[in-house]
Subunit: 367 residues, 4 copies
């Protein structure tokens, strides 16, 4: 349920609405509509609350029930693109946001070599996996806290922001058998600028709730990856879990879906067609991962261009200084040279098609 | 097996190679490599023929076995993009080729109204279904020959080329119960400039063979759509069926695949990631159908942009003068206004990224 | 629309109903309900015909609109299991119907060796591919008419029925390059007892119509395989194409669907869960193919047992006297020994669970 | 790597092998082969260890490298079916193990009513969701600890075992907003006899590791559900995560996969074909969930029969005393009457096909 205040509503009138919500044991979220009026999203089970309860309060202009199962993250709730601030950077705004870095953080030298060219290319965010979700218990599980510290070190030196995946609420076991004292989530929230939730945890709802609670105050952006076989409805509801628990700064990140297609050509099927659907259904920024979605370096350029042309607000790309020696996913990591061309051409497409940020194509009516 | 002649090979030497092939009951296909030398593709089961048989003939430079299951349509066979001539038009060349028109041909007035704006927009090819493959026997099965004649009429008036689907080797039953005297394939081959094979028939191999035989002489382009759950290997082998039976002028057309995704958001999953894979594996032109692959008008602009950015050589788009009254697939048909913006912006992307036609991104080695 | 005549309706009253249908340019199909009353299915677009038009005719008991998109093949149209007669055999009746034979007919000796043990095992129908739909144009395309004649010869010797696939309306090209004078469909209809339509042609609607027309008089059973990515609705509508064009004796045959699963473990995903759905939606017999659906001999026993337990009315199994030398699909062909155990144990399950033929589980209400 | 000791190897010799393993910083797991000899599985990265290192130790009979990515759970490691003891019950042994109960635990009365008929039907294990993974944050999230206590209460009264899902390492938020003091995993491990891991968490590897550690000592069985789009390889590797971290008592539970099929007929596609594959690749017990895999009560009987016929060692079925009022998944819950028929007929199939527990069909060679 969304309550639109009148343009000249007073603070007292607003407070009366808040009290009325609280009396019904519901929560709320306040935003400002395009035209400057205050809009209040009522959270929780509104099914038994009549609109008239709020309509009768002075200063209320109108009350609208949201028909979508996802509320806070829907275009219905707030029609304008949600622009997320992260430091001085706008996510989902006018400019494309590029994120690049290695699949796994491997050692200080690798991290600094890559950080150096990422900085040269003026990429605003570096990624790198400290905690790795691997399908085999016998594979390298990531450098853990040590890797995270190297990444922090790169940030200090180069000034970009950093993002890494929080794989859960457990305490990571390091390669030497020692157990980290903080949970993975606590470490990631503490040290990174953007908290990544991987595709494998998109439906770990208890975990999503914890992520929201731990980032509620800082409002750190949460980059949420689509599960490999999640429907778009379930993807948006996963984002809603985070929003409903206190942090609406969610970035939706597509990373390919599992279909019947041949693994030797494409590890996943890039779900580029989901971009316009998500943009229409939700006001959140939409990113695309051309590395995991294709699985092969040779497809990354083309799929990156496609994602930006379809309206993606950002790309997250795996790069490596020496892909052939990468400890993980080397086949999908692009070289510095390839990365620089992707950035150059992606920017051209963004400025050609979406010079002022994402806009709906002609004739598309939201809702 | 591919035989490369030396640059100064004589006609007699070439003839000796041809005779040697014929003696082994194999067939051949001749093309010219990038550098002007003659290249001969040996067709049929070469597994028992040694390279040395040909290497010993004077004028032969080298003999290469093709490792891919698809031979004639592979990049291995001929590394340059295959540019198909259709009238004065180049398919798979420098410029994007646009095809547009209604899903079904419905009546003279509809066809001419759409033909008129297609002509205004300088779209070189008009599409329109005369023979419709419908999932229900009780649905409109297309106007048949009468519709085809209206399309021919539009071509006469406006000068563009026309394409329609050949749904089989049967004789169409018209709405009034009469049976057409020619087969559908014969009519389509006789009257159109490009022969379309639909997704549902991609694995009707006997039919593919007939299509090749009927277009062998004219070398009319055959636009082959990917089956909704075909692997890319099987798609390329379907093209190979046509090439191996006499017509290598095949256009590969992607049109969405069937996955788990929600039908209410996307009827199929647009298989945009297949574009770079097909370009690498094959030298054939690759087209994309943003209408069937998405199923909804509101997604067509974004997916069209993505396809061109990923390297598609052409788009085939459904348009209708009044989508709400369309007899078939109205929901996915764009209006004249939307079509004009797609054409305008697609051309911008093509000229930005691929000003001289498709080229491999940096670092991508074919084979 | 279904018209139920009263129990004591006269032939004149029935004729009056038929005339009324004809006057509206609709067709009809007559069957007898469980309790002996005559039931008339009205075919074609009934959307503009009111029930009252027929209700007012003397002798009409009631008129029911069918809500399913598939009409003639639905349980709504005729609630009892449709038992198809083929010679002295009942398909979809009390007993399980077993079909077995090689993937491809290879030579006289192979055919007779297999025919011999099929006869010994008292399997009532032998299968064998004369016309093979192969993904590569360079693979063995089947023995064609010669193979078919060998199969006919086996029938003469052993007395079982035979089934083979009709791959289209084309004239088959033999291995020696000669072209057969009859079309594949004509040959198959002429020489076999059951006409098989393969998964690849399930959506070749013009072809389905021809199959119906060619078997309209003989009412030969048509074994229709589900397309590898066909929905169940589309599968039932394909059966409806055949029924609506004159032959309702359709056997629905499941053969696995294409999913994300690993090809090395299962070539397709056996769609066993579709058995109860098809039985509920349709009155047609449902068969299962454990060979193509699994792709590996080692899975055939288990999946055969599962299919019979789930309610399948028959199995179609590939067997070979020497699987390791099979020209096609040897990996999925069972040996004589395996086949005999499958038959023995399948019969046990049928008699345990469905001693009188398929019946709905407790609590399942059809429509 | 698996080390087989000779039949008469001494404890000192065994210790020498253990020391040798420890010196290489590897771990091990000891089991007894069919014929009574001691078999030692070496865990960790064995790629750089030569077999000869162990072969040279006295008392070692032979050393075998395991070729599968999953080691401890593979048939290669231990060819006999792994029979898991849970109280007096054998899981994966001769008898089928039935588990039944409601989707969600709703209130004391519901739980006891269902418990009563479960007991009457002599079902050895009752299930019931205390912690529910729901796609919407606004849906009922389960009764939490209170529900779990009711389930414990039912166990006390009726004497069966109980199983519930552990949804993560978080502290559950109850309906009244209070936060439970123990983590969900701790509560589930403490109070149930079998710990269930849901499909959504199958790839939450840090969580799997914690589950193993918390059940290491008790060796409580862990019922691991296949992720909705997990490959079988990844499913087995998830089981390996648990085994490699200390608890090899894993039950593999299939519950349907996500494919293109129509949700209105089947919510998921029952992955029955995976049963023989898992039985061949692994020695673990394989269970099947006919409720989630089909999504509709009317399919549960047929799919249950199919699962048992294909070789499943157990079924986990949702039942409700009044399905129409269920808070969650009522449509897939069977009634008491349906449940009793499933149990009766499933037992008949088990005793007909697998009277002594699972056995390989004729001609199937494991590895």
């Amino acid at each position: 349920m969304i309550i639109h205040m009148s343009r000249n509503a007073t603070q007292q009138q607003l407070q009366a609405v808040k009290d009325c919500i609280a009396n019904r044991e519901l929560a709320f979220d306040i935003s400002n509509g395009k035209t400057g009026v205050t809009v209040i999203g009522v959270l929780g089970d509104c099914s038994k609350v009549e609109e008239s309860v709020f309509e009768e309060i002075d200063g209320v202009d109108k009350v609208v029930k949201i028909s979508k199962p996802y509320k806070l993250v829907s275009r219905e709730f707030a029609p304008a693109n949600r622009v997320i601030k992260s430091g001085s950077m706008d996510i989902g705004g006018k400019s494309l946001v590029m994120i690049a870095g290695p699949c796994s953080l491997e050692n200080d030298n690798q991290i600094m070599t890559i950080a150096n060219y990422i900085s040269d290319l003026q990429i605003p965010v570096m990624r790198g996996g400290a905690y790795k979700p691997r399908t085999s218990p016998y594979s390298f599980q990531g450098m853990g806290f040590t890797g995270l510290q190297y990444l922090v070190h790169a940030r200090e030196k180069y000034g970009f922001q950093i993002v890494t995946e929080a794989t859960g609420l457990h305490n990571h076991e390091n390669e030497d058998g020692s157990i980290e004292s903080n949970t993975v989530l606590d470490n990631v929230v503490k040290y990174t600028d953007i908290v990544q939730i991987g595709a494998r945890n998109m439906k770990s709802y208890g975990f999503l709730r914890e992520v929201a609670i731990k980032t509620k105050e800082s409002k750190k952006p949460v980059l949420l990856k689509r599960g490999e076989s999640s429907t778009l409805k379930d993807f948006l509801l996963a984002a809603e879990y985070i929003a409903a628990n206190g942090n609406s700064n969610v970035i939706l990140c597509l990373r390919g879906i599992r279909t019947f297609e041949e693994e030797k050509f494409q590890r996943y099927t890039p779900d580029l067609g989901a971009i316009p659907v998500l943009k229409r259904e939700s006001n959140l920024p939409v990113f695309f991962d051309p590395s995991h979605s294709t699985g092969y370096r040779s497809n990354v350029y083309s799929v990156s261009m496609a994602a930006v042309a379809a309206g993606a607000d950002g790309l997250i790309i795996e790069t490596h200084n020496d892909p052939s020696t990468a400890l993980c996913d080397g086949e999908q990591s692009v070289t510095q040279q390839q990365l620089s061309e992707i950035i150059r051409d992606a920017a051209k497409i963004r400025s050609t098609l979406y010079p002022d940020g994402y806009r709906f194509p002609t004739g598309v009516v939201c809702n």
